[in-house]
Symmetry: C2
Subunit: 377 residues, 2 copies
């Protein structure tokens, strides 16, 4: 592989402690800003300063198609992936609206959209909208029921695209990345990864996706169980073969190799790019804003490769997709929002963005008891 | 009384239905924007249009002191109310930071601050900050353990101040009001109102306020129980005497008279002004953004006077103050945020404001399946 996991440092524990002490001097009852206080500490520690700032935040929406949709795992036809990418470019999707609202640069990455005319994307409405059309690996993954979703070379390429894109954003001065995705069938890929990475029965990892009924869910579970059985030997081999050769910082021997094999066999191009992008973002000490079930599955892959990535993550929301709460729990993350969203695209991340700004804002701008002449308890 | 409850209409059910139908045509899986969908419908129905807009939103922070603090119900000295008002005016409080962040006009109303020099307020930092110093009724309420917190005339005046302030904002083009408060001891007043209005044991209505320990809470419960016993005859009389004479729209006979008597005997000037302001805001078809435990108690008074006020309310958050979840439940409200905040000042309302903007934004700006050429399920 050309790609390798970049080195990720721990956020500064000294700054986290100093920020906590400073927050306790702000003019408010102790602890009364709740979740925002831990968030302010985390961002200070990530940036290594008591005066953090958020610069040029970018939403990365990785879009890709899935060969597994041939098996009827989604309610929508595969063509919707390309149609929605056009909708992003024309400014009419939910993430288009929320990115405009919050001044977030919107990057749409064609990770592997299956439509015939993907290179003809050209409807860009907004100056802060960026299209990455040359990133596509292949018009959709292979059908994982019959073969690995991607080859080793494709996996390597996808990880590298995510890595390079975030490296470029970082070089241009961005220090925060919000993750989103689009891909008909990708709740299936995410459920497969969750099941494989955490040794969970697949029935505990599926949900209604874009709106399956009970019969649709039963069919989805049946298909996914067969996919998992198909690849179980290769995944077991990857884990066993790598014992003792784990990457630095990985707690479980073989976890990194197993995660990469799972990503190759079960994943999607958009998921692999997301994992590569998240790892690079942590290496660059950027704030990572996670979205819903799909990006959480990509994050799970990244965390199995290098657990320290999680220290850079803000969990924006818990989605209504049934397995998301469990997946966040496996990752040790507490979501900021629970608005029964199940849309993806980075919409939950974008909706949580102002809360992250508020955490940074109060740390920088609130007076202390001493400076304001307010009596303490 | 000079003040009377203004007439409040139902938000438009036709617009709510039409908005729901339009939302189902937006380019997203059905229902996938979760809580934001109901919020968009509500705001459309309040404004009577499928193209709602939010104009000149204002945070009203009513500040007042409480005679009951003589009984040691709070961890902080009464002087902190005035000190924090100065902090609002100088721009160093949490609500100052969040109001600046979101472009919210901040109105600080001296409802009855006890400090010696309240009319000398003059530290105004921000062009969007407005001080209302002549609204003060009296330097703090009376000690409710010994007499009603306020006289009938003071209650009437406070309701009228809130009413007039919102009338003026409405005349100036604002259509959304966020509520906040400041007042050492006002979790006690709020707990007393909650207990009286919903016939709940006072122990179920108290919390740690700004940070009481267990012994402090026990003392608070003891004091509040004695306050309630002191005023029980007058409250019972108010309810009984008004049976059959209930205000239009009130479901429980005597509820309005009982609520006003509770507000007079147990409440605070800032709570009375808030109730008057909320009722006027609903009458003007403005969006009302509720904050934490204190403003919810004022809302409970308003809702006992005229239940339709609740149709105009967005519950911004559930605070960490123990009784708030129950109080929201009694009011039938579901909070948007649960960030373990317990600061007041309108901070929860301000933090939820971008979500309200997002709801309006997606209703106005998202493409439909037809307009974007996206296939349906």
């Amino acid at each position: 592989m050309k790609w390798s996991c970049p080195p990720i440092a721990e956020p500064s524990p000294e700054i986290a402690r100093a920020a906590a002490a400073e927050i306790d001097q702000k003019t408010k009852p102790l602890g009364s800003l709740g979740r925002l206080e831990a968030l302010a500490q985390q961002i200070g520690a990530i940036q290594g300063t008591l005066r953090p700032s958020l610069a040029s935040p970018a939403v990365l929406v990785f879009a890709g198609d899935h060969g597994l949709t041939e098996e009827g795992v989604s309610l929508y036809p595969q063509a919707v992936t390309a149609q929605m990418v056009l909708n992003f470019l024309r400014g009419g999707a939910a993430i288009s609206v929320f990115a405009r609202q919050h001044g977030l640069a919107l990057h749409v990455i064609d990770a592997g959209v299956a439509a015939a005319e993907p290179f003809a994307w050209k409807h860009i409405q907004d100056a802060k909208l960026h299209l990455h059309a040359k990133s596509r690996i292949r018009p959709g993954t292979r059908n994982a029921l019959h073969e690995p979703a991607m080859t080793n070379e494709e996996l390597d390429g996808a990880l590298g695209v995510g890595d390079a894109l975030v490296s470029q954003l970082s070089a241009e001065g961005s220090n925060a990345v919000l993750f989103g995705e689009m891909g008909i069938g990708n709740t299936s890929a995410a459920a497969l990864l969750m099941s494989a990475l955490f040794d969970l029965p697949v029935a505990q990892c599926v949900g209604r996706g874009t709106g399956l009924d009970d019969a649709g869910i039963a069919r989805k579970i049946d298909v996914l169980a067969r996919v998992l059985a198909r690849h179980a030997p290769e995944l077991a081999h990857a884990r066993a073969g790598a014992r003792g050769g784990a990457a630095s910082g990985t707690e479980e021997p073989g976890a990194a190799s197993h995660a990469l094999a799972a990503l190759k066999c079960l994943g999607g191009y958009e998921l692999a790019m997301t994992a590569g992008a998240m790892l690079r973002a942590a290496a660059q000490r950027m704030v990572i804003v996670n979205d819903g079930f799909i990006t959480s599955a990509a994050l799970a892959v990244a965390a199995k490769i290098e657990p320290r990535v999680l220290r850079y993550v803000v969990a924006s929301h818990q989605s209504a997709e049934a397995a998301h709460a469990r997946l966040l729990g496996e990752l040790g993350l507490s979501p900021l929002l629970n608005l029964q969203l199940r849309l993806g695209e980075g919409t939950g991340a974008a909706l949580a963005w102002p809360l992250i700004q508020s955490a940074v804002g109060f740390l920088n701008e609130m007076a202390t008891f001493a400076s304001a002449g307010v009596s303490e308890a």
